[in-house]
């Protein structure tokens, strides 16, 4: 005599999902639905990121062999110059890139969903510009050090978001297009203000501010890494939990609300999390274009469309930034090109391509 029901529930089972491309695991009363293809894309992106990051740590005026880099990271280094360079210079640089990229990717995914528009990314709708305003003000007006600049960037980004949100608010609701257009308008004003601050400031400060504005992973220290790392590790999973709700909201507020989504609360919390991520990334590296815009779009093309891919976009963002960093370091351009300029060029081309295709804007 067997007890089939009890037996069936004893270990996780694989079940059918109405939508092809989704897999289900069941265990007792619990179930998880997931998409194998998307999971594979995320894993592949993470592996690529790790590989490229390791290679990037061998590059520089002082060459360190890949085997030595791995040994040092595993805590089996032999001390000396190589270990100091990897642990104090190259690892912070790479990690700043990984987490800033992940933060930008996830942030872009959320903004594109909320604004229902592929152009709705934090660098387009002025939040990155606002973070830059905060940072430049700190550099030019108060002459603050890197930490104060980072804090000012976060404050600038969050304040800009608050202003845009309030301006876009009408009758307790924020429409997608209104958010986008308001953001572009506010961003334009802040861009002009940034220019004004540069002109007004003392020459040295203006040069510093300009360097910061170029967006760079050069000379990143652990103090640059920690805020964006902790912020990303905390906020990306939280945003991923809200992704299902955001996906439902893409069908229209009324439809999402009738399905039981608290639409305005979800939107406010997600936007707040995404703004914080964009601001933390900008604080760590300066403004880096293109990643927030492209990462969500690219990961959707690889992993298929269904729910909003917050984690996928984060993985793609990290991968893009690390690859871009390696390319800028290896490119025979002589000067050490800031990565923000590099992504700006690629981003411009990508944007034009997106606009000419035009179907899903």
């Amino acid at each position: 005599m067997s007890a089939p029901a009890a037996h069936r529930n004893a270990s996780p089972t694989v079940a059918k999902h109405a939508a092809r491309g989704s897999a289900v695991w069941r265990w007792r009363g619990l179930s998880l639905a997931w998409r194998p293809r998307r999971a594979a894309v995320v894993l592949a992106l993470m592996a690529t990121t790790a590989l490229v990051a390791a290679v990037a740590m061998t590059v520089g005026t002082f060459h360190v062999a890949l085997a030595d880099v791995l040994a040092i990271l595993a805590g089996r280094g032999e001390g000396g110059v190589a270990e100091r360079i990897v642990m104090n210079i190259r690892l912070p640089r790479v990690l700043a890139g990984v987490f800033a990229g992940a933060a930008l990717g996830a942030s872009g995914a959320v903004f594109q969903s909320v604004s229902r528009n592929a152009l709705g990314s934090p660098d387009v709708i002025g939040f990155t510009t606002g973070a830059a305003t905060g940072a430049i003000s700190q550099i030019v007006l108060f002459g603050g050090g890197p930490n104060q600049v980072a804090v000012a960037a976060v404050i600038g980004g969050v304040l800009t978001a608050a202003v845009v949100y309030l301006l876009a608010l009408r009758g307790g609701m924020v429409g997608g297009y209104r958010l986008l257009l308001t953001g572009i308008g506010v961003g334009a004003i802040l861009g002009a203000l940034n220019g004004l601050l540069l002109v007004r400031g003392a020459l040295d400060d203006a040069v510093n501010a300009n360097l910061w504005l170029a967006g760079s992973l050069n000379a990143r220290k652990w103090t640059h890494v920690y805020p964006v790392m902790l912020g990303t590790l905390a906020l990306v999973p939280l945003l991923a939990l809200g992704a299902r709700r955001l996906s439902l909201m893409e069908m229209g507020d009324d439809l999402a609300r009738q399905l039981g989504v608290a639409v305005e609360r979800t939107r406010l919390l997600s936007v707040f999390g995404a703004v914080l991520l964009a601001a933390l990334a900008t604080a760590a590296t300066g403004p880096i274009a293109f990643v927030a815009l492209a990462a969500p779009q690219l990961v959707v093309r690889l992993g298929g469309r269904s729910d909003l891919p917050v984690i996928g976009a984060a993985a793609m963002g990290a991968c893009l930034l690390v690859v871009a960093d390696l390319v800028t370091q290896l490119a025979p351009l002589g000067a050490n090109l800031p990565i923000g300029r590099m992504t700006g060029v690629i981003g411009g081309v990508y944007l034009i391509w997106l606009l000419t295709r035009g179907r899903n804007l």
Partner: protein, 265 residues
């Protein structure tokens, strides 16, 4: 006749502009209720209020004997489903994925796809005859197919009460009938209570058990179509001179328009 859902003297407004004042309406359980009225009479607004998408300025909406605001938002979504007039199918989404989204109110963080979810989605696709389209992208479908897919999504929600805002708009006449027959089937065979906003008076008369007529944000008549639809009412609410005959197919009142009574200056 018990009522499942009712508005009690609700005043409804958008941004301070009052659309309906002191409206009371009751939705009888197990019946098809149809709301009709000329453009901008507040039909959609009333439907949104009944589905708690619009909070009344005064008065309240009662669901199963309790103020609808006292339920959790997912709890309401398990009792009442609404198909709005305007919705956007996310770019590239498949039919099965879209229908599966109707299960959201039944799901939790670690109960993402129960056997009940699977059954509900399959049953909803079967009833609306979209099973064969399950893997297709919604953007590729015809208008009639797409409307059936949206209906399937709300069906998968498995609510005893369904509110449909003009489910036949943009469809040609055969597809309109198709959707309305499906709605009747949901009511007769599945025992679901339906509330529909419809534009076509004859369709309303044919498919309604209970007809609600609105004008200028107020309910002007309510009852069985045969009792409600009179020459006098049509003149008063629709500014329409009409005769009323008997529909040879369904034996319900049939409105034959004669002339508009509206003065066009």
């Amino acid at each position: 006749m018990s009522e499942l859902l009712a508005a009690r003297e609700v005043t409804l407004a958008y941004d301070g502009a009052t659309v309906a004042r002191d409206v009371s309406v009751a939705v009888p359980a197990g019946r098809v209720t149809v709301i009709i009225g000329p453009n901008a009479c507040g039909k959609t607004t009333l439907l949104r209020a009944l589905a708690r998408l619009l909070a009344p300025k005064s008065g309240n909406v009662v669901l199963d004997g309790k103020d609808i605001r006292r339920y959790g938002t997912k709890e309401v979504a398990r009792r009442l489903g609404l198909l709005p007039q305007a919705m956007t199918a996310p770019f590239g989404i498949t039919v099965a994925d879209l229908v599966a989204r109707g299960r959201f109110p039944h799901q939790e963080l670690f109960r993402q796809w129960s056997p009940a979810d699977e059954e509900a989605v399959q049953a909803a696709m079967r009833l609306t005859r979209v099973t064969a389209l399950a893997e297709r992208e919604v953007d590729e479908l015809s208008g009639g197919q797409r409307q059936r897919v949206w209906l399937a999504m709300v069906l998968a929600q498995q609510t005893p009460l369904m509110l449909l805002d003009e489910p036949t708009t943009y469809l040609d006449i055969a597809h309109q009938l198709d959707v309305l027959e499906l709605c009747r089937k949901l009511n007769r065979e599945e025992g679901r209570t339906l509330v529909m906003v419809l534009h076509d008076l004859n369709q309303a008369a044919r498919y309604a058990d209970h007809l609600v007529v609105m004008k200028d944000g107020a309910v002007v008549a309510e009852g069985a179509p045969a009792d409600v639809l009179t020459v006098e009412l049509l003149a008063r609410t629709f500014a329409l001179e009409a005769r009323i005959a008997t529909d040879p197919v369904s034996s319900t009142p049939m409105v034959i328009p004669v002339a508009s009574l509206e003065r066009h200056d």
